[in-house]
Amino acid sequence: MLKYALKRILTFIPMLIAISLIAFIISINAPGDPVERLSKAAGNEGSAEQQSGASKKIKQELRKKLGLDLPIFYMSITDIASSDTLYKVQDKYHKSNLEALTHQSGNWQAVSDYYNSLLKLQDAHMQLNAKDIVANNQSLVLNDVNESINQFGFEVGSLLETSKANLVDLKFEKMYSLLKNNPFLNILESDLNNTKKSRENLLILSTKWKTYIPAINWYGFSNQYHMWLFGDGSYRKGLMRGDFGISYIDSQPISTKIWQKVGISFGLSLVSIFLAYLISIPIGIYSAYRKDSAVDKGMSLILFILYSMPSFFVGTLLLLQFANPDNLSWFPVSGIQDPTTFDPNWGFWTKIKHRMPFLILPIITYTYGSFAFLSRIMRVGMIDIVSQDYIRTARAKGLGEKKVILKHALRNSLLPVITVFASIFPMAIGGSIIIEVIFSIPGMGVEVFNSILNYDYPMIITVFTLSGFLTMVGYLVADLLYAVVDPRISYK
């Protein structure tokens, strides 16, 4: 058995790698730039120019801290036209634009020339100062100058993010007309001409054939995925050493966030599974004992109907009936505690007592979900076993029906129920999103839901990987329990 367990644990490794890869792939395709979001959350004061300089620096540091300046994976599969240093470009939108341009022309050198000339143009544009221009030329109005400069800046900025040929031509046209109408922009002319020329080069020197030949780039161990797994040696410890990274929402460590929330979800699922067992096992036994009686038939129909009732409907119905001033206002509508009277220094039992009314409806909804399912499994399993030979033998040797059912049949019919127990660990980490959202319970479900809505990917990857791991552990535990309960099963 130990050998079997070890063998199974070994198969966890490729599985976990695959799960983490799936989560990772989803996360790098997520919209938005995490650095922008984090630096926005930090938010700093200062004048516009200062801010742009300072925030640029902060962003660069953040990027480095999060490891976003590294290649994504150990290797990448591209075509020979693409550059293997593209990951060094910091801006996410610029990066994808460069990729698209390379795909169009197949000539990375020309693309990078074009990009650099655009950046140079942007730099030159940044040097412009509306106040100086107005000071030198009294006939101009400050607002008009400002507007033209801003417009030019906008065109340059959007050129950096556009690859569609007709749009690019349009932008160039606009910039030239701006130049013509506003002589004070003439300083930019040489840079603009350079850019235009490199853009034309891009079209002339196109080597489209290069995009048809695949190339495999190898980046070595210094990449985001590796760093996420093993850490970077100083700042991050890596998943393997229990560091899940920091949240993009509030820069808190993920592990702290999970520890804060997992207790309530785990408690709820534990209590509800326990309750579900408590109700469903007797029901299953009784139905099997009185098979095909009116009670059994009615019960199985009711269980069937309950089984098809979505838990979010049940939860909402409970709220409608029992937490609604129009009907019965027995329970509070949301949350798990009353913020005005709750005292975090209370002892465990006082806290439970305080939270009880808040938790009754969620527990009913939680229990409900597994109860109908469990009872049905229990009943079918029991009926299956009652028709087996050894039960007939037990009856034949004159044992009472009670003893046959409770002593001989029950033990074996518990087998399928064990499988359900295996699912409660992953349920705790992922939480039941829907139920927690309905009752506004601050557990893992709501946490995960919020991080999905806010694209907080470190959190999502962590939950994915952890729940995958726990599911596999659950399956393993269930298999081993099977062997313990049922001597017929052995893993040799």
């Binding site: 799960i19 075509d79 695949p214 979010f312 995960v448 995958g468 599911t471």
Partner: protein, 441 residues
């Protein structure tokens, strides 16, 4: 399923067994009703009349294209006005004769006289063609109430039927396609029966790599452009990509014949069962709802994409059943007979083995439809995935949750979801009992 002898057919037997369960039969009829509602939804709930006579012109607004525009002339031939069908308020027109749809509202049309959760039993207001605001006549009452912005609940439920049934059908269609093919291959060939020359195996893998490179890597922008236009052209591009991949793989397999000699010619077995089983295990160890919610949050909001995601994540059960059935069937005489007659594996699998293994698969498809509908309504309930302007049962229920006073927004959509799921589950269960008496509980 072929006749085993002249008088006995398994199909007939199963249907007779199925008919014995009266509740299941009722469910089958109810499903038929749901399908009819879904198909005729635009004629059951529509704020344009089915038939109207306006200034001597006979019009069929509900049957016409939504954006149709007509210039209306009166009997004397004078121009009266231009009617654009979807923005005209037909209730305000002076219609000489009119037949309204049973529910004279569209799911997304907002009745501004009955905003703020008009109760089905409470007072409802109506503006008649003379422009007076009066107590709503019974024809124009919102019989199941309205939501916060005055949308009719009954119309929403009718059109929601369409979406729910479609979700079940499309997503399970995708799932069964993937599940049946993979399960059949895994079960039929196992780990050792699919043999090919070593060189062909390597070339197939290499061809797959090249195919993915050209089909998805190279055509990345073509695909993205297609999907950004509309779903149809995106799918067309997708089809091109898939054809390209298949073509490239076949090309490389042909190419391998040139090198068919010596050690390269040795037969090796392809562990296809291991591939499929590991895939199933992998997908099963990720919580499905979490995966679906995450992916729907990343991609664009679209009902089609939601269906695709539900389908792509939902094939494992079907594959498992198909695989198990094929494991059993491949040792039966008729399959062996087909093999000894020298039929190709593909012909044996799809023409002989598959029709005889579909029964348990059908059951799991029917259960799958119920769970797909449940997942979609759960997603809409959470407010993700499906675009906000599409009214679904789940999104209606969500509106009710946010305002508990509007009990009709909780009870009716909830009952609709619950009934549909019950119907599918009931049909699936009695199908299981009918098709395989051994499983009967």
């Amino acid at each position: 399923m072929q006749n085993t002898n002249e008088n006995f057919s398994f199909k007939k037997y199963a249907w007779n067994q199925f008919k014995k369960n009266k509740i299941a039969l009722v469910c089958l009829y109810l499903l038929l009703v749901l399908v009819i509602i879904a198909v005729f939804a635009p004629y059951i709930a529509n704020d344009r009349p089915l038939y109207a006579v306006y200034k001597g012109n006979t019009l069929y607004p509900a049957l016409a294209d939504e954006t149709r525009t007509d210039s209306i002339y009166n009997k004397q031939g004078d121009f009266v006005q231009v009617l654009q069908y979807d923005i005209t308020d037909w209730r305000q027109l002076d219609l000489t004769s009119v037949v309204w749809a049973p529910i004279p509202y569209s799911p997304s049309s907002m009745d501004r006289y009955n905003r703020d959760y008009a109760s089905p039993s409470g007072k409802q207001r109506y503006k008649n063609p003379k422009g007076e605001i009066i107590e709503s006549p019974s024809k124009f009452r919102h019989k199941l109430g309205t939501d916060g912005i005055g949308r009719d609940l009954a119309a929403g439920l009718i059109h929601g039927t369409r979406i729910s049934l479609m979700v079940g059908l499309v997503s399970m269609g995708i799932a069964s396609l993937i599940g049946i093919i993979l399960g059949a291959l895994a079960g039929f060939f196992g780990d050792s029966k699919l043999k090919m020359p070593r060189i062909k195996y390597y070339f197939t893998l290499f061809g797959l790599f090249m195919g993915l490179f050209y089909g998805f890597g190279q055509r990345k922008y073509a695909l993205a452009d297609g999907f950004s236009q509309n779903f149809g052209s995106g799918m067309l591009e997708m089809l091109y990509s898939i054809l390209l991949i298949v073509g490239i793989v076949l090309f490389f397999r042909l190419l391998s014949r040139l090198l068919m000699k010596g050690k390269l010619k040795e037969e090796v077995s392809v562990p296809i069962d291991t591939f499929v089983s590991r895939g199933i295990e992998l997908l099963n160890s990720i919580p499905r709802l979490l995966l679906i919610i995450t992916v729907t949050a990343v991609v664009e909001r679209s009902i089609w994409i939601v269906m695709m995601i539900i389908g792509i994540t939902g094939w494992t059960r079907i594959a498992r059943f198909t695989r198990a059935e094929f494991l059993r069937i491949r040792s039966l005489e008729f399959v062996q007979a087909a093999e000894s007659l020298g039929y190709s594996s593909m012909r044996t699998i799809f023409k002989h083995a598959l029709p005889n293994s579909l029964a348990p698969v059908m059951v799991s498809i029917a259960f799958g439809i119920a769970s797909a509908i449940l997942i979609e309504s759960g997603l809409s309930f959470l407010g993700i995935g499906v675009p906000t302007d599409i009214v679904t049962w789940g999104s209606l229920l969500n509106l009710g949750r946010q305002n508990l006073e509007a009990w009709w927004l909780i009870i009716y959509p909830g009952m609709a979801i619950f009934l549909t799921i019950t119907i599918y589950n009931m049909i699936a269960e009695s199908m299981r009992d009918a098709l395989d008496p051994r499983l009967k509980s």
